[in-house]
């Protein structure tokens, strides 16, 4: 048994310790906003926060996540929704198919928390690992700038 703290709730999970966190979040706890894209940490669709840091949950073994604060898209902004990143994503109508966008937003939220007013090249570097197959990259870039403005009260 592994105890995981997901979106502030302790969850007892009956799964082998090497099970990847992604599958426990999605298939055991049914928080399906987190997506599977590649299984190798190459695409970012499965990005969640571990103690506030963006990680690829398909690469994290649950045994290593015990005791950490895990946040998924459903728990962003304390589960209230409307995080500045989500506000910006809605305002700019970023998603098309939407499949990668939870991962995109989780990645951007952790990045902006650490770097609230980034340069364009810092945004590109930070978001480089998140693939979008509808190729909404230009709107993602704009939305991260917009979220930064919202966070600063603009």
């Amino acid at each position: 048994m592994t105890v995981l703290t997901v979106n502030g709730v302790n969850q007892v999970v009956d799964a082998p310790g090497d099970t990847r966190l992604l599958w426990v979040i999605r298939e055991h706890l049914r928080l399906t906003g987190t997506k599977f894209g590649c299984g190798l940490g190459l695409c970012g669709a499965c990005t969640v926060h571990l103690n506030g840091e963006a990680v690829r949950s398909c690469q994290v073994e649950i045994a290593d996540a015990e005791g950490a604060m895990i946040t998924t898209i459903e728990g962003l902004n304390g589960g209230q929704g409307g995080h500045p990143v989500q506000q910006a994503w809605l305002e700019l109508q970023v998603p098309q198919c939407g499949y990668c966008q939870s991962g995109q937003m989780m990645n951007a939220a952790a990045f902006l928390a650490a770097n609230p007013s980034p340069s364009d090249s810092e945004i590109i570097e930070a978001q480089q690992g998140n693939i979008c197959r509808c190729i909404t990259y230009n709107r993602i870039k704009t939305a991260i700038r917009r979220a930064s403005d919202i966070m600063q009260g603009a």
Partner: protein, 763 residues
Amino acid sequence: MTKHMKKIGNFSRRQVLVGSAAGAGLVIGYSILPQAVDSASKAIAAGNWDHQQYLTMDADGKAYVYVTKCEIGQHVGTALAQAVAEELEINWEDVNVIYPDSHAKWGLMITGGSWSVNWTFDRNSRIGASARIALIETGAKMLGASPNNCYAKNSSVISNDGRSVSYKDILSKNTIDRTFSEEEMKAIKLKSFGEYSIVGQSKLPFDLPGKIDGSAKYGSDVFVPNMVYGIPVPNPVRWGAIPQSVDESEAKKIDGYVGAYVEKNGFARINTGYVVAFGETIWAAMNAAKALKIKWDLGENKNVSSEDIRNESVRLQEDPSSGFLWVLEGDTEEAMNNASTKHSAVYETSIAYHGCHEPMNCTAYEKDGIWHLHGGNQWQSMAQPTAAAALGVEADKVVCHQYLAGTGFGRRTEPDNFVLAAQCSKHLGGRPVKLMFTREQDMQFDFHRTPTYQVVEGGVEFGRMIAMNHDVVAGWSTKRAAPGFMPDSVDKKGKVDQFSTNGSDHWYDIPNHKVRSINNELSDKALPVGFLRAVAPSWTFWAVESFIDEMAKKAGEDPLAFRIAHLTANGKNAGSPPNSVGGANRLKNALLVAAGRAGYGVKPLGANEGMGIACVSSQERGSPTWTACVAEVKVDPNSGDLTVKKVTVAMDVGTAVNPEGVKKQIEGSTLHGISLALYEDMTMRNGSIEQTNYDTWTPMRLDQAPEVETIIIQNGHYPAGTGEPATTVVAPAIANAIENAIGARVRSIPMTPEKIKSALREA
């Protein structure tokens, strides 16, 4: 093709019924009523109204628009609901969409070809209008007024003297019983461009908020009690392998291992044979898929490589007896003899992968004699009967339940994942199975875009092209997936796969024009090909628009002026209503807009920088979307590295039902086209796709996305499809820009730095 497929949804002799039971809302749909039941409300009361119900309204006055399409990122339901709402005169806040289960009554359920809005706008407008008329008639009675003195606005019927009754009041207090003959439906006068208040507005897509808070449900998010997970074991070759024996001893040590489905006979729409591992958890199933030791008969394609497929294309093209004619006008041989300037060139494209970010999946189970298949699907009319055939049941015993899809790009027109999930569940006695492809499985077992080999030859006399010969060699997707849809060739020698050849029948006036369509059967055999966004126009326009540019330069003409000189809109290129009205004049206009906005031939450029232009009428001659593009590039001649600095796309869509949605489709498809043109290389070795995941197959990343400027041209003509055309126009624009930058012509997609350097050496 469009014409042919539309026949399936032919509603002639059907009536539209607008009816309700007392105070219980409204149902609006097509139906053929039995003689005995002559009214809509009686049919509803009898509970056997088995019709195409495209719109319902509840007693609160809310409207529900039925969308038989798949949401793959294009927000199609929102645009289709806007068409209904516009004529229904309903407040947009009162509108919702429903994606019904598959059923024969819906006719053709397919999402592709940029057809959705184009095929459905008029019908949905008339459905909305018929409901409005019935509501006005009933509302007028309540107001004691003549319907002629009433109108509808903002979810209410209003009399000319200013009294009003809401749709909610009308629907909660009345029985409505109205029938429209087909003639009446046709006679309804719809609003025209300029009169719209909902069409033409960038309404927030219904599917968008759930994609921001994580609540959106995709096929892979389905859960069913007692389900097991199924993970396919990738076959060692793409097509032809058969499992001989399976050793489960290691898999059985895995906690939660359920067993394996070993299929040695295969199924035509899936593969020649396959193995799926089952687990109580997905982790158990994934580990089991790796632990199963399988002895394979590798089959006849075990040695096939990309080079072999290309060599076969070369051989076929050189054989004058190959292929079937798709276009034959004038006498190209004689005209070529008369031409003073001649040119010929070979254009190629590699294998391409759909790369849906949500890998293929389906959850299947049997309940009370009905097989339920859950997942995002672009062609339910194919998945339902094909799964039924595999299960050995009648088609009406299979129901496909629609979900959001993590992109489609045509991949979800294939029934394989649905059929395989059904077979897995049958193997387990009907127990629910959630079948999930891994990325590796998805990449290997795509129905890929065919590699293509095209030879174009042309001749110019007095500044005008008088001849064009075009040979298109490709794997044929329609021959595999829907052979009944293939039209006769113009020489009546046989059938042509229009989805391998569309686009070569372009809108340039060239009096002597011949297109030969040649099927590479080795490709068909080793690499079953499918339909990837825009399909044939992605390679035919690559050849046509690269060649026109080359031909212009060889004849000493400016590529833009040369194109315009051939877009005369004469004869067959004059176009016809509704879809292609205006013909080549609209393409010329789009070209001028893109060129003007981008500053083609005018903007100052630096060393090794260039601009290239291209224009397309993708998708088909029967449903063109007039699209032009200017690409601005910079090339490093030493490394071959290419930077696309900016792309300008002008698209004449006639009427943009949801302009922001159109803009997003243009942005995404433009960048998808660039990703395909530059980055998405794929190769076959030993019958197997060499790339396995996003490390070896490398689609566009954020730093590679250039600015895309979109110009949406609206002129009030019928709405055109917007999801695909831009995908086809960017590659030739980039190749033309590279030549203008460094004098080297690249004729092979993807245009890698190696190919650019090689072209420079030959320049």
